[in-house]
Symmetry: C2
Subunit: 126 residues, 2 copies
Amino acid sequence: MTPTDPASDREQGSLFQPKFDSSGLLTAVAVDAQSGTVLMLAHMDAEALDRTRETGLAHFHSRSRGRLWMKGESSGHVLKVEEILVDCDQDALVLRVSPAGPACHTGAPSCFYRRLEGDSLMRTDI
Amino acid sequence: MTPTDPASDREQGSLFQPKFDSSGLLTAVAVDAQSGTVLMLAHMDAEALDRTRETGLAHFHSRSRGRLWMKGESSGHVLKVEEILVDCDQDALVLRVSPAGPACHTGAPSCFYRRLEGDSLMRTDI
């Protein structure tokens, strides 16, 4: 592949070219910048990505509510974005964040608070 | 909410009830079980999830190719699944894995090998 090949450029290049899917979304994974723990997964449209970059606080697009939301807008548990990592085909992001409180709306530090064992889920946070 | 509320049951309960989206997919994030590094993000349909659980090796559904694929089926760089974590609404999984080689098809250890700085991407692995 040559440097002008679009796929190669997106994978190897230094230009940020986020690739939104057919619904206009990409996937973002928030991880704790200190511990590396995966906190939550959500989706961003172009507006949410812009707002995140402008403010330094994680914003997402709610598919169920069909609107922009800032994580922590009601709970106060915002996610301060320390670093954004971009994957090979630029359709997924890792947000390395400092959370202001529990990341999950259930009150758990991470949304991933259960481990699959057989067909059952075991809490990992209690 | 009562224990029989479907949303509450899905969030608080011990029954695995994966929630596939309108395309029949959920999102899976593979992280290195040793280091915690996020390696890759991909999608699973019910078949990919079943095959992952049966074999202990990460399987996904390729949206572009429209078929089941086992990570490493051509490269040999399989992901041995040590643990599966499930998020609050059961539409996303974290796979804690032991990778048999670089997780990214580009040869990078992780697909998230670039950091966003301004509008540019900086390699983090070289």
